[in-house]
Amino acid sequence: MIQQRNNIRLFEGVDRVAILLYLLLVLAGLTCVASAGYDDSIEGFFNFRQNHIKQAMWAGVAFVVGLFILLLDSRYYHMYAYYAYVGALIFTAGTIVMPEAIAPITKGAKAWYELGPVRIQPAEFAKIATALAMARMMSNYSFNIHKASDLCRVAMIILLPFAIILLQNDTGSGVVLCSFIFVLYREGLNKWLCIPIIMVATLFIFSFLFTPLILLIVLVLIFTLSSAMMMGGAWRMHAIFLAGIALSAFVLYGLSSIFFDGALSGYQSLIITVIVAIVVAGVYAVRKHITSIFLTLALFIGSMIFVPAADLIFESVLQPHQKERILSFLGIINDPAGIDFNVNQSKIAIGSGGLFGKGFMQGTQSKYFVPEKHTDFIFCTAGEEWGFIGTVIVLSLLCAIILRLMKMGERQQEPFSRIYCYSVAAIFLFHVMVNLGMTVGLMPVMGIPLPFMSYGGSSMIAFTILLFIAIRLDASPSKGAYALN
């Protein structure tokens, strides 16, 4: 056994299907970048200043890094997971405190290191480390997903980098961490707890589209419902609770408008009622020893502070130009031509592809009219030049690699490997969902790259590392050897 461990052969046990899918996706990405990012003013297809040549070099670097990962013993990932986590957090938080010379503000976010010609986005690496740390914690023998304290610790692991990335003002990258709910669900998280979390994540993405009043009402409904589900019925009690909130908010609003000349708005009276209701529910839970209510309440308070507070801060604290920048960063306003303009151009480009597409280097819409055509909107080029057939092939590749990762996870004996594989699948899925969603106009525009295809060294290397660690864990010849370490 010892001999085997120290002599890992490079491709022994490696999942060749995953590697093949990876290479195909990188190749597809390079082809698109070559077409979309081609700079007419630079002479020569193989000029080193062309985007696709740069991207090819990044892909080469990434592949070498991947090979290096395959050479490392899989135990190291388990051993150093927490160190990597702490290191990555410090690295990520560094951008906030660093002077602007090293960490410049780009598009309102302070999320990049700029060292000469190289730009690094530490959040990409924080994702890897978070996946590792989460896998390590949840694979612990004594870990029990149904225990509130254990659940809180996992939440801490996810929320810490989330908070740091939000502080960088890089909302898009931060929301990616919400995808870990996927993993938690696989590991047995109570399904009625999943729903509110997913809803909150969705609400956050769309929060700027709703008024605080609607948000609050939706939140109250969701949490009451899931609380009822978690307690296995108790419908009547929750119905009374809901009716109580609605009635008292209504009465409060009515009283204030009769006696105090409308001192309270509808939103304010509802919020007051809800706060009172939380206290009442808390007291009730203490007296009846119902812990599940606590969990729901805590989640509810968290999301209630988070969502409308984001809105409140947004409305009152920020300067108009900052607001505009954030809105345009979130895709609510896009200059120069109003809401959804980018998305509309992107849809025109994809739509013009038809069934068979226009052919390599023949696309004009994506090249001339789509902004960020070789980074976030790379999929437009695929759509325009390769048509429906081509996009379905690309979609299948992306879908296949995610399903493959899930399958790899399922065949592990070790929880650590399984959880990690699932985390990678979740991250990929989220990226693909949001990126393609915005490209075809199903989601607001967020600056999230398409794995392996979008132009950019940081994301290429980070995605490769994510994938290859999973492949390495899967290929480990001594499955189970480190479990008792």
Binding site: R186, G188, G351, S352
Partner: protein, 619 residues
Amino acid sequence: MANDDVYTRRMILRFIVLLIFGVIACRIGYIQLIDTRYKSMAAGNVLNYEVQYAPRGEVVDRRGEFLVQSMECYDLMVIYRDLPKEGFDTTRLCNILSLSKERLVRELRNARAYPRAPRLIIDYVAKEAKLRFEEHNFQGFYTVQRTARQYPRKIGGNLLGSLGEVSENDIKRGEGEYKKGDYIGKSGLERAYESYLRGDDGVKIMERDRHGAIKGSYMDGMYDTLPVPGLRITSTIDARLQAFAEELMEGKMGAVVAIEPSTGEILVMASSPTFDPDAMVGRQRGNNYMDMLYNPQTPMFNRAVQARYPPGSTFKLVQGLIGLQEGTLTPENAYPCNGGYHWGNVKMGCHAHASPLDLRNAVAQSCNAYFCYVFRNIIENRKFKDVKEGLDRWVEYVHSFGFGRKLGSDFLDEQEGYVPTSERYDRVYRGSWNGHTVLSLSIGQGELGCTPLQMANLAAIVANRGYYYIPHIVKAIEGQDSLDRRFYEKQYTMVDAKHFEPIVEGMWRGVNVPGAGTSSRAYLPGWDVCGKTGTAQNPIGRDHSTFLSFAPKDNPRIAISVYVEHGGFGATTALPIASLLEELYLTDTITRPELVQQVKNLPYALPSRYVRKNDSAKK
């Protein structure tokens, strides 16, 4: 966790993945195969973005009279690709737009490098020319409406400032607010209030067919945005007074600043020589700019906020106030003056007047010797360890009067002036200096440098008996209730209000008691004018003439500082200008037309360095 539960969860997750991909694939299929709208939009149809430039905000004076207006004008643009293949009538185009043929050919050659991109051929096309241009329908050319600045009164060149095209730096700093070809405030009020004045450009998206002709609005204007005009700004300036000040200062170098003491609003801010702000608009802008740049009298240098002048005798007010506050001087203190101040071989000359004088009369008579004693008593006070500490304390006081630092007005070009500190003297004299070395500070000479704005602010401080409001040039912004908070906060000096009485009394006597002072020509019957002359020596020519004044004595309405470089005695040049402006502001009339003539015809010779060698510009 039971095994079948795990199995269900795996299946659900797999189902979710497939569902997400399925939805996306359906959506793409719909866009690419079913909805033909996108295809027709892309198939040869190209969108054309017409920027709708927002009209820039206008500026009015405190009475609502226009200082800056916006005038319609047009940019002529070309898209090279769309030019007719068989050529077009260049002569007619040139005639309509009064454009030289060489220039047109040159611009078209430049445009060929980027055939898809709109390119500017000529700007500031008048409305009539644009209408004639449209009659002829030149393919490939189009006009874009812009607004140009127009100055009905042609006053306040440096005050209002000018616009220019954005630089690369502006674009980078603006983070997407500006694009190439936009205009931005380059100086003066235009620059300080850029964000309010500029408004937001709109865009009109037009759809074009495969031949390049405009087919109509894209998606019925769904993505069009309207331009939001810039906000109108009400300036604190009194246009009538400003014009009169510029008229009186014509041919002289210097600056006039007047402030309303009760609010800090700047009534007049004239820097002379000035320029016609209309010269900075239009096709001749470049030439006019270069001409002014090489003018030795530097008309674009805003003396009112940037010059560093020695304040001369007007600074004695500060000296006296500090002495009173420090307790080293009482109003009854009298010092002798026999033609000046003598100490060993140090001598500070003075003019002939009665002696000895008390503080009130010393202010009125502007006695040099008196304030030498005052200054020495301040900095050589025994409570200080040495004279350095005394001087540093004195500097603190002077700073509190707004000297040696920016006042924080809304005028971005404002400069600090200069107040020397003990460190500076330690450096220059290698540590060995005393009260006599720095004696010239006592009468506002030496290293002291003040901007006319700071001096006017001093007048406002004395008028208010000890505090000021930060001077500002904007009274109101359209749609906003208030200005920045700092303009509403009283800024106190380190001298208490009770000490101001003798100084004000001295300034009043200087004007209103015949023979008691230097400023009697500033007398306006019934208005209780208070004033202080100043005559500042300078190394390169005749003395600078300055006058500092406010009126009326109680509840003052105007505080003014006039500074005329090389104007001689304070009472000769600066005083009548200030007096006439006060009269116009307070009484709305000019009762002394002969004084106006006298000011305009004053013998005035500038040192040779300010005279243009080959005076070709004036031909």
